[in-house]
């Protein structure tokens, strides 16, 4: 459908007049671009509508002018908003975020905001939301405005339906295995579940268990090692079809939607099998890392002025024992201690201060120093001494153990 520039500009002029309620004769370039974008976006819809719908074809042959095409397109967008709202309401009846913050923000917080602020009349091409939660198959990049939101929600609905076939607890167990802080990650939950489900099919076990144990993973590794990517892809498609037949009534919508995922999946199985990291895609309870994190709560640091006074006082004391006594009585937090170590102690004195530390405090300082080394940060004098001390302590421990055995 081709319209002359004059025709479209006349339409723009009408829209500007309506937008400003005829109270302003001029608008900024930015606003004019927005209005023009909205017009063209709606007109695209009129075009597709006249091409797809036989009834509308007659209208098309009558040669719609730009204004008519815009009106047809705008009405179509308005109908689509209603459809999208209905779809959203349907999704919300059973929607589950699986504790994922990004999923919550995108759907539960974002979507109602979209329906509230979406301006189909003057900014139809703007979908407002950034749609941060990633889908297995993202909607086309060409989609804009309500078209994009509709497509996004349609795909969300497919993913939610698929996820709802599995037990909530099993999904959460899988997610915990995926990452300790899965709630804060931006990742697709459905992909993780889908991959484990396919893994279960390959192992001939119930897909609803989802968990894949260590020995089972060995079998999958053998499979990954023995086949190339194309063969793996064929095997995965076959397994996927089997799963659809057995559990999802041969749902073709699922087949089309998840098919794209299979290619990546085959490739990842191959590379993870080679690197012995199949536990990253086939998740199970055995992959939980033992938790040996030190739980340490630091005391409250003193005010800057008091700390300065203490440092000045310590600098004037000659005897080490007196210095240590002052630390014992006055320093209540590691933060303060670090400052004091930096300013008031030297060489051999450090070791005497380290002797005052509890095991937890030593672990915390150790972690901090390791991090500093990892990030190539320069170590303080006391930190170098601390590092040396830790190395000597560890070698002593090892020797003791050897002598016992």
């Amino acid at each position: 459908m081709n319209f002359s520039e004059e025709e479209i500009l006349q339409l723009l002029s009408d829209r500007v007049r309506k937008y400003t309620s005829n109270e302003s004769s001029s608008v900024s370039y930015e606003k004019a671009r927005q209005l023009m974008g909205s017009i063209l976006f709606c007109m695209e819809d009129a075009q597709s509508c006249s091409q797809n719908n036989e009834k509308k074809l007659t209208l098309f042959h009558k040669k719609m002018n730009a204004k008519e095409a815009f009106e047809v397109g705008l009405n179509k967008k308005k109908v689509k908003i209603k459809e999208t709202q209905k779809l959203f309401e349907t999704i919300m009846k059973t929607f589950c975020t699986y504790q994922n913050q990004c999923y919550y923000d995108t759907i539960i917080k974002g979507m109602p905001g979209f329906f509230k602020t979406y301006d189909v009349e003057y900014n139809a091409q703007n979908h407002i939301l950034t749609l941060d939660y990633p889908l297995i198959t993202a909607p086309s990049l060409n989609l804009k405005g309500i078209d994009l939101i509709y497509e996004y929600l349609k795909r969300t609905w497919i993913e939610q339906c698929f996820l709802s076939s599995f037990s909530y607890d099993n999904i959460l167990d899988i997610l915990k295995n995926y990452h300790k802080k899965h709630e804060e990650l931006i990742f697709n939950i459905c992909r993780v579940v889908f991959r484990n489900a396919i893994g279960c099919v390959l192992l001939d076990k119930s897909i609803y268990e989802l968990m894949i144990q260590c020995d089972e993973r060995e079998l999958l590794k053998r499979l990954g090692d023995s086949k190339n990517v194309a063969e793996l892809e064929a095997i995965l498609i076959e397994a996927f079809e089997r799963m659809l037949n057995l559990h999802f009534n041969n749902n073709q919508e699922y087949f089309v939607y998840f098919l794209n995922e299979i290619k990546d999946f085959a490739f990842e199985i191959k590379s993870n099998a080679e690197n012995n990291h199949l536990d990253k895609i086939f998740l199970g309870s055995t992959t939980v890392e033992p938790q040996n994190q030190v739980i340490y709560k630091d005391g409250s640091p003193m005010e800057d002025e008091k700390l300065r006074e203490l440092i000045d006082g310590l600098s004037q004391i000659r005897f080490l024992t007196e210095k240590l006594d002052m630390i014992k009585t006055q320093v209540k937090s590691l933060e303060d201690l670090k400052e004091v170590l930096k300013e008031c102690f030297f060489d051999e004195e450090f070791l005497n201060v380290f002797a005052l530390l509890s095991t937890n405090e030593i672990e915390v300082l150790k972690e901090e120093i390791i991090q500093k080394i990892e990030y190539n940060e320069e170590l303080e004098e006391w930190e170098i001494a601390f590092k040396k001390e830790m190395i000597t302590r560890e070698s002593k421990n090892k020797e003791e153990k050897r002598s016992i055995t």
Binding site: E5, L9, L12, S13, V16, R17, T20, E23, S24, S25, S26, V27, S28, Y29, E30, K31, A32, R33, M36, G37, L40
Partner: protein
Amino acid sequence: MNDKMFLRLIGQNEKTQLQTIIACNQYTKKFGLSLTEQDVLVLMNDRKSSLKEQERIEFGEGILPKLIFAFCDSPYIYQENYVDVIGRLQDIFYYYKNESMDELSDDELLDYMKELFDGKCEGSLDYLEETCLEHISREIRAGRQGFTGGDTDEF
């Protein structure tokens, strides 16, 4: 949509615009003010460059006729400075449309300008541009109420 296309629309109906502005002379004559065709062309060129500078696009007959009707009875405008003042007011108008984030309608902004120009500014375009309107637009940007159709005594 490129800028050229927008600007083409601005260029449309130049003849009609010229006639409309010349027709204003009938009304402004009683205040001893009139524009020649040459003056109007200068003002219309100013308008184009001002719109371009402020990155705005204008449809219809433009702001000039409204500006002329609003300011022709000002005691600070006379035939010798008429074209210059109207040209400058036009620049100020488009500048403050942007500065007020389009929160003021054309009529509201013109009312403010006229009231301040004849009142507190005593005909000083610099004072109008750099102080009085600047204050109003700052208040509008800060979201403070009372700048649509209110009085301007406090300025």
